[in-house]
Amino acid sequence: MTCRHFLELLDRMDNIDIQEEMTAHAAFCPGCAAELSAVMAGLRLYRLPDVCCSANLVPKIMAMLPLVPAPKRLVSMRNWVLAGLLIMGSVVLVPLMSDFRVLKETFGPAFTIPVSMAFGLIITIYLGIFVISHIDEFGRRLKAYEAVKSGKIA
């Protein structure tokens, strides 16, 4: 590597560890080694935190957190739909399984009634969670819809 190539690489370098070929060149070229350490020192010193760094910023912000809406995990609509399809698919496919038919013929209503109730419960829980987690959004959409409607009437 020539000194010119070294300096070119130094100027183009990203904020990552220095390349091996550069270290190798700097090891036996005092001029380039000095340039390298000058730039590194300049950057290190430039990056030092400044006196303006406030000591009370953290408590100030922490005191405000209870006053703003807390972040909530969002499950994407795609995942909701996938989960719904999975539940529906099982409700449709499970009764078609041969084991299910054998059990149904052997036990009759003593088997089908609890199984239907279990399916019903799963679907209810899924819909319940969906409604609870989207209630704010439904409210917002309803308000937006009403605003549009009243705007049209007026």
Binding site: P49, V51, L65
Partner: protein
């Protein structure tokens, strides 16, 4: 048992905050307050407004935390909020400039180190002044925040090559400026 959150990765802390652990957010504030204050100072040029800026950015990040999907690192995501807040800030004081302040631990620095810092600052301020403001911020994200080209591009939306070429020129000038000091 009290667990030490300060060693946890950003993503783990975000996950805790989303689970309702508000305290975990304080670790993230401590970790990134210096960067946010520095950007705030660059946009507003005074400490009070830099603090208001940092506070605004952290509160925006908190309320919108569920929108952090982990596609980029948390620091890039947070810096993006700061960049947009700063660039679109209505009442900012003139254009973005590098902070001209004493380092917090200046007592531990020798005269030569202080002079290197001063020269670096002067050289980079000059480089920033020569560019449109949007690119001046890119330079500070590279030189002060130590961000990588890709991350700066993610934050600002500018092509990597544009950022690279601005950084290249600024770094060459910085090296020349330091050559005179050190060599």
């Amino acid at each position: 048992m009290i667990q030490d959150d300060s060693a946890l990765a950003d993503e783990k802390l975000v996950s805790r905050v989303l689970d309702g652990d508000r305290e975990a957010f304080s670790v993230l504030i401590k970790r990134y307050q210096a960067r946010m204050l520095r950007l705030g100072y660059g946009f507003y040029k005074n400490q009070d407004e830099a603090e208001d800026f940092a506070q605004d950015v952290f509160l925006k990040a908190y309320t919108g935390l569920a929108g952090f999907k982990g596609k980029s690192s948390f620091s890039t995501w947070l810096t993006k909020i700061a960049y947009n807040t700063g660039i679109n800030g209505k009442k900012k004081s003139g254009r973005y400039e590098a902070l001209e302040a004493e380092p917090a631990d200046s007592r531990n620095l020798g005269p030569e180190e202080l002079s290197i810092r001063k020269d670096s600052l002067e050289s980079l301020r000059k480089a920033m002044a020569a560019l449109p403001e949007k690119y001046a911020v890119c330079l500070d994200l590279f030189f002060a925040a130590g961000m990588k080209f890709e991350d700066i591009s993610e934050v600002t939306g500018f092509p990597v090559n544009t950022i690279k070429s601005h950084v290249f020129r600024a770094k060459r000038d910085l090296r020349k400026a330091l050559e005179e000091t050190i060599l």
